[in-house]
Amino acid sequence: MNDNPQTISELYKQDQSLAAAALPYFKVRAAIRFLIYLLIVLVGLIAVLVAKQYWPDWPLVLAFIGLASLAGYFSIFYYPQRFFATAFWRFDEQGLFISRGVIFRRQFAVPRSRVQHIDVAEGPLQRHFKIAQLIVHTAGTINASVYLLGLEPSVAAQLRDDLMEQDSSDAV
């Protein structure tokens, strides 16, 4: 754990992009979400159509398929790609800085001395893609916890250890 903390803040003081494995993870996650939504919409639609005894014409069906595939392309390919390409973080003497988001862009700056505790979380899908999520808790109200998803597990552990080490020095 005590492998010279200086180097870690030196190592990541430039803007870092997310781990390469994060992109396929984001895409797969988006695909799963999209399929679930699509399924819900389809079931609802078919139920309504059956109830009303209304059978749509081919153009209408084609339009729906077109719309769905457009939405699918956007949410499975375009959006995760953009999210991955624009997200970055850095970790230096000041603390952890995170920037993410495509439509609503958010940047978080969490100073080192304000970190209360840190979680490293991995879901089953995240484990499969070897991706970890770092959750940083502060005593704040609006952003009491700030997360950074898409790190290599080893990097997440490094960040956690480095933050924890100095955390133990200042008693609450």
């Binding site: 439509i103 609503f104 978080f108 700056a109 100073p111 001395s113 704040g140 609006i142």
Partner: protein, 524 residues
């Protein structure tokens, strides 16, 4: 009860690990709550669970009181007595040990020096029986560490002394120098006390009456009392205004009626507000007490609270048009510990000055936080063109309203656009009012034009920073900066600076980040 630690069949064992160094040769007595406690435990339960049920039953027109008694009240009494019977507390040298629970036994150790707030509540019944409810809060946030319902006044004094002793010994070790220096500066222990006249003014200014009215309407509406009230009102008013045609046929009578109604409503609200303020804040005093503030208020339910100055995270000064009329302001403090947890909101942020003369505000803040520098070196505004965004958004909403009203009333719907000038004025004024600035060690943010609010956050209390922009922000090359501190009440003024120029936001984020990183956050 909150955090059951099930593995504790013999509470006696716990003493062996409590503080390690303490020798168990003469164990302090295990004390019980005041014998009347069961009554207050029942009251608490009634307050939390049964009032809604009772209301529902009453509103439903049911009168099966025996049923309610059998199902709810009797078990409650038994539960309360058992709870009282098993509750023990022990004043050990360095900490208070509380044992409670029947099935899930819970032993809690609270170190005296960790106790931040000591809240004492006494309603008329408490006072009649010479007891009080004591809450011990630590910095951990959320619920109080212990709610002692209820103790005799002698027991309260004993606990208080223990805690103060512990604090003093801790202090002498740590920072006696600073404390004494600060203490000597303080000449007058009482910082603020509110006379009855001041409280009446506070009532005139506040809108608390609305809350009471809303609540009353809710209940009365359920129980049909309201209908009867209006029937009687009509009978009363009839001889006074014989000209008014109660059949509502004449347009003038309708206008007069609405006018009278509005006036009496406003008067009514004000009267209620005054009563509310008098009852809540009667005898309000705020005093220095070592490193803490001690406040006491209340006519029926008396509240005493101790707030360590160190734990004040943010101060907000509010000034409504009515405040300006009386040349007064109100000051609110966000304190860490009592978190966003809904039940604790009264503790998360408090009116430490429900009303104070405007020219005394700086002095007041200087008294409670002498190390905060209130002098803003240079105020920064936000992007002026931001007003167009507010205005456009309002126009959009108004148009939506017009569209919705078009089908029922056609052309009359256009009357909604009468609000456009107000929106125009509001947009311009409110963007003009937004400004922020730094002093040596504090960030100050001001906003609002009718309701002016100004918040002070010392740099070392800032927890984290956020910069955000949405599509509209980016289109206008703007961004928002959010400054997060502990213990905020999100319904109140927070430092969320909108309509910053994009580069300005970057700069502000950078500057704040640098400044905050250089400081250390200390709870204490």
């Amino acid at each position: 009860m909150d955090k059951p630690t099930p593995s504790n069949p013999e509470p006696d064992n716990t003493d062996s690990y409590n503080a390690g160094s303490k020798q168990p040769e003469q164990e302090p007595l295990r004390l019980q709550l005041h014998p009347i406690s069961w009554l207050f435990i029942i009251f608490e339960m009634v307050k939390n669970f049964f009032v809604p049920i009772l209301l529902a039953l009453l509103a439903g027109g049911s009168d099966s009181y025996e049923f309610i008694g059998a199902v709810f009240v009797l078990p409650a009494i038994v539960f309360a007595i058992v709870q009282y019977a098993v509750y023990r507390y022990q004043l050990q040298p360095g900490e208070i040990v509380i044992r409670e629970g029947v099935l899930f036994k819970n032993v809690r150790h609270v170190q005296y020096r960790r106790i931040q707030n000591l809240n004492l509540t006494r309603n008329p019944l408490h006072r009649l029986l010479g007891v009080a409810q004591l809450e011990l809060e630590s910095a951990s946030g959320g619920k109080p560490e212990a709610v002692m319902r209820v103790l005799s006044m002698a027991a309260v004094t004993e606990i208080r002394q223990k805690i103060e002793q512990a604090k003093q010994t801790a202090m002498t070790e740590l920072e006696s120098g600073i404390a004494q220096a600060e203490e000597s500066k303080v000449t007058e222990p009482v910082i603020l006390s509110l006379s009855i006249l001041e409280l009446i003014k506070a009532g005139l200014i506040s809108n608390k009456g609305m809350v009471v009215v809303a609540f009353a309407f809710g209940i009365l509406g359920q129980t049909r009392t309201l209908d009867r009230f209006f029937d009687r009102l009509e009978v009363w008013l009839e001889p006074i205004l014989p000209q008014v045609d109660w059949g509502m046929a004449h347009p003038l009578s309708v206008v007069i009626l609405i006018f009278l109604g509005l006036i009496s409503f406003v008067v009514f609200i004000r009267v209620l507000s005054i009563i509310f303020m008098l009852v809540t804040y009667f005898g309000f005093t705020l005093k220095h007490k070592g490193q803490s503030l001690f406040m006491q208020y209340g006519l029926l339910t008396q509240t005493q609270a101790t707030v360590p100055k160190q734990r004040i995270q943010m101060l907000s000064v509010a000034e409504s048009p009515l405040h300006r009329l009386f040349d007064r302001i109100a000051i609110r403090a966000a304190t860490a510990g009592g978190n966003v947890n809904q039940h604790q909101q009264k503790n998360a942020a408090r009116w430490i000055a429900p009303l104070i003369a405007k020219q005394r505000a700086q002095w007041f803040i200087g008294q409670i936080q002498p190390q905060w520098d209130l002098h803003v070196q240079q105020w920064q505004g936000v992007a002026w063109r931001g007003w167009r965004r507010i205005f456009r958004r309002d126009l959009f909403i108004l148009s939506g309203a017009v569209l919705a009203l078009w089908f029922p009333v056609q052309l009359w719907a256009l009357l909604v656009y009468g609000l456009v000038p107000i929106s125009w004025l509001h947009a311009r004024r409110s963007v003009k009012a937004m400004r922020y600035g730094f002093s040596q060690n504090t960030l100050v943010y001001r906003s609002g034009w009718l309701m002016r609010q100004q918040s002070y956050i010392p740099i070392d209390k800032i927890q984290s920073l956020q910069r955000k922009d949405g599509p509209f922000d980016r289109f206008n090359n703007m961004a928002t900066i959010v400054v997060d501190v502990a213990g905020l009440d999100l319904n109140r003024h927070t430092v969320m600076i909108r309509f910053l120029e994009s580069e300005q936001a970057d700069q502000l984020l950078d500057e704040l980040y640098q400044r905050v990183s250089k400081t250390d956050f200390v709870w204490r």
